[in-house]
Symmetry: C2
Subunit: 347 residues, 2 copies
DNA sequence: CTGAAAGCGCTTACAG
DNA sequence: CTGAAAGCGCTTACAG
């Protein structure tokens, strides 16, 4: 095991000052004359000295580490999007001098899992945590917030009264669904179905509600047989369409809005397998602008949202809150932009 | 900021023992009678006590944290594979009770980057690090190893004499190339080209060398004009083929081995753009079995390798070395398996 | 502007 | 089997 022999005492000795002064230089305190600072800095650099982080934290400094908790019930994350999210958090944190400890949660109800997540917070390994993929009301997260930990959450509602140590980043799904429905209506569609996401997730609910509202706005009626259950995963899109095709052979919608692009991919696969073509026989629109959507056949029309920007903001705000607990911080709302490609046709 | 009031002294008081005994229970030392242990454990659990990790580390325990360093010159990692690698490391580490601090390196030559990486090691944040995507000889890594830190590296050669604190996981590219060439030869190909990977990476070199050897084994002659430069990225495959098509219009190979599947995707894209079809006009074979290869059009024939298994092993061995520095540990070699799909045809 | 000293919350020889 | 005490390497009032 490596053990650096350099410590602040040694630096102090070499620079001819006390450990207090070395500490003041390291922490960039104002009351150190430039010459003293320069002298100490030189010794620090010449000897490749890095203060021991455990000692710093124990003495009251921040760990400068964030926890990133990915909730993924479905086995290994095979989604490029997940990767974008991780990278966005890490790079943003890094730009603030913070490190990221990533943890994968398979089952938020499992006792061992809960214990290990709580441990990360209670051990003092991190200054705050970011949760991705959580249900809208997740006891594990609610408990941590109640216990005073700083958390950032993607896609959760801010409860009322709002909690100062919870920062939320949400999607404007109402607007997204309105854009989707308006676009389809403009193409002449009146028979529009939807494949829902996971209803335990905030986006699942708000997308569904957005769809209902949007249909009303467009003056279109909702056929309950065309409101399909799903889970945000590709397979759920495939299954939903299979079921639709099986049950409603003679009364099909002409367009389907999918809860996200993965679901849309699955839906298109199922349609193809049944000999139906997109967009000739059915128009499909997705959400997210998944990295694969532009290269899909047909290229997928979708509502794009900037995940990197969103998570970057969430990370920045979480760090800001950690460093200045009293500053007011507003939640983040991500907007959708319609990207027209080839999966919808005029009828 | 959250501050847990519980400390070992408080647990000791409540359990009617000394802090020493509490520590012995936490660290599972043998010399504690079952009744004492039970008594202490109960207090610990009842009060949701988690020892402060900084204090533990400062007092000499391990941080139980691994650094994961992803070297990705090319902007945001858009590759699903990267995600699989990250997840494999995190889950394996987690199964050993270790956490993973992930860091992204854009430029291994940048002074600030080098500083921040070295800082992670010297600060004592981690017990060891895993590097992915490094050049075969990477000074940043070599320095850390020389300084005594424990590192695991994917795709680097073990120098001679071998260093006890470097664990390497490499690919059997010789065998992979042999399988590729043998398969193509068996289909009747004699004109076989190659798109190389990044020659600074071990796999870049060994794949090229493997290709040369394999061609000799098959008794085929290598046309230097069909040995194309590349970089393991999709665009390099596209560019390589464009150049080939441009320069060698009338003397083309009938098959190309790509350094990996991404390169193969790019190559196929370029061929399509020039009106050539795969496999009708050109056979293509890749390496890795990228998650998208099975769904590609045409489905890509490739040499599959189990990255999850490989990185899981690397992680396990690194942790084993951290915990038992003197135990002998062998390097890891990953083998390729030919997966025949639709991108090669008999001629 | 600066140093001596207390303290952060643990672990671990040491002595019994 | 168990406790008192020293020590891990920092930071930060406190006093000057």
């Amino acid at each position: 095991m490596k053990k650096s022999e350099m410590k602040s005492e040694e630096i102090a000795r070499l620079a001819g000052v006390s450990r207090s002064t070395v500490s003041r230089v390291i922490n960039n305190y104002a009351n150190v004359p430039p010459e003293t600072r320069a002298k100490v800095m030189k010794v620090i650099q010449d000897h490749n000295y890095y203060p021991n982080v455990s000692a710093q934290v124990l003495a009251g400094k921040r760990a400068r580490t964030l926890g990133l908790f990915l909730i993924e019930p479905g086995g290994v994350s095979s989604d490029i999007l997940t990767n974008m999210l991780i990278v966005s958090v890490i790079e943003n944190a890094s730009s603030h001098g913070y490190y990221v400890l990533t943890h994968i949660i398979r089952d938020t109800a499992d006792t061992d899992t809960i214990r290990s997540v709580r441990e990360i917070f209670f051990q003092g390994r991190i200054d705050g945590g970011i949760f991705i993929g959580a249900a809208d009301r997740e006891p594990l997260i609610d408990d941590l917030i109640r216990e005073g930990f700083m958390v950032g959450v993607m896609d959760q509602e801010q409860p009322i009264p709002c909690q100062p140590n919870r920062i939320a980043a949400i999607f404007n799904n109402t607007s997204g669904m309105k854009q989707a429905a308006a676009y389809l209506a403009e193409l002449g569609h009146t028979r529009i179905g939807v494949i829902n996401g996971d209803m335990n997730r905030l986006s699942g609910r708000t997308k569904y509600e957005g769809y209902m509202q949007a249909m009303e706005t467009e003056g279109l009626k909702v056929n309950p047989a065309w409101v399909l259950g799903g889970s945000f995963h590709e397979n759920s899109g495939c299954n939903a369409v299979k079921k639709l095709l099986h049950c409603e052979k003679h009364d099909l919608p002409t367009a389907i809005i999918a809860a996200n692009d993965s679901v849309a991919f699955g839906a298109i696969r199922a349609l193809k397998e049944h000999g139906l073509r997109v967009p000739d026989d059915m128009s499909i629109i997705g959400f997210d602008d998944h990295p694969l959507s532009a290269r899909h056949h047909p290229a997928l029309t979708t509502l794009q949202v900037d995940f990197s920007e969103m998570l970057g903001q969430l990370t920045s705000k979480l760090i800001a809150r950690i460093e200045h607990p009293d500053e007011a911080i507003h939640d983040i709302t991500a907007e959708y932009t319609l990207i027209v490609r080839e999966s919808c046709r005029r009828i």
